[in-house]
Amino acid sequence: MNLRPFKRVLVANRGEIAVRVIRGCHERGIEAVAVYSDADANALHVRVADAAYRIGPAASAESYLRADVILDVARRAGCDAIHPGYGFLSENAGFAQQVLDAGLVWIGPPPASIDAMGEKTAARRRMSAAGVPVVPGTTEPVSDPAEVVRIASEIGLPVMLKAAAGGGGKGMRRVDRAEDLANALASAQSEARKSFGDDSVYVEKFVVGPRHIEIQVLADGHGNVVHLFERDCSIQRRHQKVVEEAPSPALPEKTRQEMAAAACRAAEAVGYVGAGTCEFLLGADGAFHFLEMNTRLQVEHPITEMITGVDLVQAQLRVAAGERLWFEQSELARTGHAIELRIYAEDASSGFRPAPGPLHGYREPTGPWVRVDSGVVEGMEVPIHYDPMIAKLVVWGVDRQQAIDRAGRALRHYHVVGTHTSIPFFLALFEDPDFRAGEYDTGFISPEWLEAHLSAPGGLEGEAIAAAIAAFERDSRAAVGTDEAAEAGSAWKRAHRWSTYRRWA
């Protein structure tokens, strides 16, 4: 076994995932080089790296998406590999190829695998051929309203219109009535054109009461593919995951095995190498359908690490260096239950509106089986230019109930002052008997649910008193040395007491 697969890895990302990858590198004795935009000059990933290089202004397009600048840094810094993290350039096959052409190792799947999964309709065709069940629908993009109506009547309403180049919930429309199809098609196409510069749309059956369940796979460059069980990511807002758990509380063992086998077939079909994730929809009817494959490390990878003991970042490094998988499927087991909560700087009570701001006070929870992956420290500003995720709170418990209770404890110990966070939302979720019973689907969090479950903070007298005392001390300090100083005796006494106080402040 090669303990130190690379000498120096460039981490082409920011925030918590850059920190996570740097940790993995350091644990294997590899130096880590960070890159940063102007908005991240003081960021945590810059502080923990062995060296960091400025790559441009705050806007992603001028920094973290600048393939040329990042490659130049890799060359100047003497790196032998590039880890892209998730987002940014991670699923950009062109960039992956440039990395390889530069004689560096790309810590990710081959560019051809990224391409094969990147265009959603082509991927659906390919998966169908490989025997991976896909959601019934078109395998060719469509734009003719009459054709859309014909397909919809064939597969049955409701249907979903989806941008072929899409992601992140953009260019998606659910249609329940045939007469609404033409309008929905027009708006899905316009959104797709604006977001992705490509207005191809495909039509698929809308799966009722679906759960979003995904399978983690790991493949080496020698034809070996294993799965590391599933993650249930059905608690979503704006079509984005906010809570993930492993194992799923709703997956029968037989379905788990079928889904995992399908995921491995999917990876094999595209010659996959490295860590990847096949996303499936599990319908209320028990049938599951392939959605897409994410050809990179996922945000929620830590829960898989927690239940399997496999360090996915280290695994990526080893496989990218050409190592054969060091375990077989039969040696992989899962233990206990893990939950991840994405702590966003946002206000659930106003429809999860992003609420960037300064972290005046910030202290992460710790304690037994609590892991926090974050890219921030106290005093930092959550930058407006990127995703508003502050951290991922990950806990492990011997079973689901213990994991939930432990996560609740950690949330209550999470000290964040200055910005709204999703913490009150998670605390409310943990009180919901349906969530506690594991009974939820991707539509669980609705405006109605929020209205019914989110409470406004009350009982703030203690905070009001503390605020008044803080104001009093500030104003007294301002007054000392001015008019009040003239009242000699008492002012000296005050000044003395104040200096005593300040020693502790």
Binding site: G379, F426, L427
Partner: protein, 166 residues
Amino acid sequence: MKYEVELPDGARQIGVRRADEGGWWVSVDGGAERLVQGTKVGTAEWLLTQEGVTRKHAVYLDGEHVYAQHQGHAVRGTVIDPRGAALAAGSASTAGEVSTPMPGVVVRVLVAEGDSVTEGQVLLVVEAMKMENEYTAAIDGTVATVHVAAGETVEANTVLVSITPS
């Protein structure tokens, strides 16, 4: 000193004076004074003791703004010294001023100076954290000044558009 502290659960008048035994004599809404002792233990953290019980309060003061955290909730409010506030009173009404509560980048400006606008009309769009937020007129009137242009980065609490009431 008396402070008016406004938090999401209501406004309170809080009297604070220094106690000779250390700490402060505090009264809430004119009630009896009680002795509060304690200290600031972090940038945004106080430990305060009343009647022998010590509790943590996550509170940070920034000018008149107070940021706190209570049972996981982010809490925002104001702490005003009414004597100081009386001096500031009499400044122009701000109903016609549209400002952004958070920093962002102006994506589109939909009105120009001299335009008539009606309450609820979208004036401009500001993007923050990949989300586009529409800013609307709070009153009917005429656009007096557009303070920003598309593409501009704006800080929190920046006045974007001023409207003269009709």
